[in-house]
Amino acid sequence: MSVEQNTDLVPLKVHGVLVDPNTDTQIVILRDESNADVLPIWVGTAEGTSIRLALEDVVPPRPMSHDLITSLSTHLGMKISQVVVTDVQNNTYYATVHVSLNGLERTVDSRPSDAIALALRAKCPIYVTQDVLKRRAGDNLDAWLAKLDDKESQSSET
């Protein structure tokens, strides 16, 4: 296929982290600013927890792995400037972490979960390419998410 890809960037906000009751994994819900588009990304338990801690501004007594990366960056004078969800292939999302140092920006390959966990700690923007947003799964995603929201709110009451 030689279809030209739209690599324009859309800023996303982390809307929340849900537990998928069917697979015991967690789902990070990203939404664009107008709430028109949603991008759900399945992540492991540890990454989901790390994202939730950052969302809720919880500082754990000892640094978690992503706190350590943030601390390494700060010590060396690096800045995590943005993260981008760049691709999706066979249901696997790809991301890059942009690190700026001495005015030079470098990009590092990452899973979206790590990238998002870092972005929340560095308070830097999260983007997705138009192309990835267009190719994301399922038409009835919103209905599915609504159903999940119900389950989630029930289980979080216990």
């Binding site: 338990t45 640094p63 590092v108």
Partner: protein, 151 residues
């Protein structure tokens, strides 16, 4: 004084539903067991078994960020034991200075293994941990508790 330690393996602790990283000194006379969470244990076992996952795990990303700016991981040092919590530092060489950064031992070990950097512990940490109690505990471990590492 610091002692160089090797990662001798990972055990599953069925009583606490956690994993234990076993560090031993070169003469095998001292041992340091460190309880870690499931995801840290898997990060350490990937490195121990030299398995490259299809996508970078968190510590692979950590190393790749450091590699990208030519920061060199010199060592990981277990520096203290307080209220059953181990403390560690990661030593880095970057530019023309050395940096030491506070870390949990699990992260420091996972990173050191990927960088093939040495792991040390302070002598006082070895003295602090109660080895007698530990050996009694280890004797009570059944062979099936070791099954996890075979899969």
């Amino acid at each position: 004084m610091i002692t160089q330690m090797n990662v001798r393996g990972l055990l599953f602790d069925p009583y606490n539903n956690a994993y234990i990283v076993i560090l031993r000194d070169e003469e095998n006379s001292d041992m340091l067991p460190i309880w870690v969470g499931k995801s840290e244990a898997s990060a350490i076992s990937f490195a121990l078994e030299n398995v490259a996952p299809p996508r970078p795990m968190t510590h692979d990303l950590m190393k790749s960020i450091l590699d990208n700016v030519d920061a060199k991981i010199l060592s990981a040092v277990v520096t203290d034991l307080k209220d059953n919590t181990y403390y560690a530092k990661i030593h880095l060489w970057y530019g023309d200075s050395e940096y030491s950064i506070d870390s949990r031992p699990s992260d420091a070990i996972a990173l050191a293994l990927r960088a093939e950097a040495p792991i040390f512990t302070k002598e006082e940490v070895l003295q602090k941990q109660n080895s007698e109690e530990l050996e009694r505990w280890l004797e009570n471990l059944k062979p099936e508790d070791f099954g996890k590492s075979e899969t």
